[in-house]
């Protein structure tokens, strides 16, 4: 299995009007998520690895693979820092590491 993440147990997520709302209950914080962010979170929540997320987004959005690779890793890094995502138990690599 490649690099993979999941929502932390205290995080709740809801898609509304094509945008997302993340509630981090432990820190009582709400984060708004745009359309692309919603898709990334949905795919991560569906247990896809980061590589699979990027591949899937490549088929759904008109963007060069290098751009998707860079943007997805940066976004996942932000979500980890915000306390939204954590590594799955199988791996502990930081985003961008291969």
């Amino acid at each position: 299995m490649g690099e993979a993440y999941r929502l932390r147990p205290d995080v709740r997520y809801r898609n509304i009007g094509g945008e997302g709302v993340l509630l981090c209950q432990e820190v009582a914080e709400v984060i708004g998520v745009n359309e692309l962010g919603v898709r990334v979170i949905e795919l991560i929540d569906a247990d896809l690895s980061v590589a699979a997320v990027i591949e899937r987004l490549g088929s759904e959005f008109d963007a060069p693979p290098q751009t998707l690779f860079r943007d997805v890793h940066r976004y996942i890094g932000e979500l980890i820092e915000a306390g939204v995502l954590e590594s799955t138990p199988q791996q502990s690599a930081a985003p961008g590491e291969r």
């Binding site: 147990p9 709740r12 509304i16 009007g17 709302v21 009582a28 708004g32």
Partner: protein
């Protein structure tokens, strides 16, 4: 429950595990609030009389044979169950232990548990003390009970100001210090009536959501208003600004900010999905607007003309 409320309770298990105790008296009060009636039994006469005065407009005789929806038994707790909090009296947080089947709550001089199965009910232990202190314990417990009961009904208890012109009713919410009391005072000055400047209940009903004045208000005094609820006309997220403007909030922004303003249940891991569902329905039913408002009071002209109003 081992780590629960250690700031307040010597041993939560010892006090609460039996789920019973010695009633404080043989009086009761039945409060007719959204999702109720709420029946508090086991009250001594002084406390019951005080509560009856406090909730005069919401009291209901609950005709014999009619069952209160929510039944809360009040018991006496010996003072040795509680940590001596006198050295740090003042504002305090209620400690809540969230579980799938219910919640336990505790603070200075009281502890309680509440469950949903087989029916919604609770048990409250209060230490001997001044009537006002015991009344506060009951009100804090009532607030928690109402938050969960409203959630079950598809509604929400919202930190908000509720203001009405008796035809239309608006809800204003925002971050702490955003101006709920200020907008309420400006509303009162312009001839509107303030339902509560701190907390209101929103409950779905015929034709949309209804606003129920929660019987505790903030800076504008403690009030208890009679039912029924009023039709919700608009929801506005408050932002103090140099001028007065309205702007549409995106549904995700509205949902996120409303979640933050939904006390008690927004911290409950097992009830959060339900909260999202109820608030999503609310936002769909009544789109949220940002209200940038100044202190000149002209915002009320704007509110009266707003699209949702």
């Amino acid at each position: 429950m081992t780590d629960f409320a250690t700031d307040y309770l010597v041993s939560a298990g010892r006090l609460m595990s039996t789920g019973t105790g010695e009633p404080r008296g043989d009086n009761e009060i039945i409060i007719d609030f959204a999702g109720g009636p709420y029946r508090f039994s086991g009250l001594e006469s002084g406390l019951a009389q005080s509560l009856q005065r406090r909730y005069a407009l919401l009291r209901t005789p609950c005709p014999s044979g009619t069952k209160a929806q929510i039944h809360i038994n009040v018991f006496r707790a010996e003072s040795h169950h509680f940590v001596d909090t006198r050295p740090r009296l003042g504002a305090y947080d209620i400690d809540i232990d969230y579980q799938e089947s219910g919640v336990c709550v505790a603070a200075c001089d009281f502890a309680g548990s509440m469950g949903w199965e087989p029916e919604f009910g609770g048990t409250l232990w209060i230490a001997d003390g001044q009537i006002e202190v015991m009344q506060t314990a009951i009100e804090n417990f009532f607030r928690v009970a109402a938050a969960y009961r409203l959630l079950d009904l598809g509604g929400v208890l919202l930190h908000s100001a509720g203001v009405t012109d008796d035809t239309r009713t608006w809800i204003f919410y925002g971050k702490s210090g955003a101006g709920k009391s200020t907008i309420s005072r400006l509303g009162a000055k312009s001839g509107h009536r303030v339902l509560s400047d701190d907390m209101n209940a929103l409950v779905p009903g015929d034709g949309g959501f209804h606003v129920h004045q929660f019987p505790f208000s903030g800076e504008m005094g403690q009030t208890a208003g009679a039912r029924p609820g009023r039709d919700l006309c608009g929801i506005m997220n408050l932002i103090q600004a140099p001028d007065n403007r309205l702007a549409t909030a995106r549904p995700s922004e509205a949902l996120g900010t409303l979640v933050i303003s939904s006390p008690i249940v927004n911290n409950d891991p097992s009830r959060c999905e339900r909260l999202f569902t109820n608030l999503s329905r609310l936002v769909e039913d009544t789109p949220v607007e940002y209200l940038m408002f100044s202190l000149d009071g002209r915002c009320w002209d704007l509110i009266g003309k707003s699209a949702t109003g």
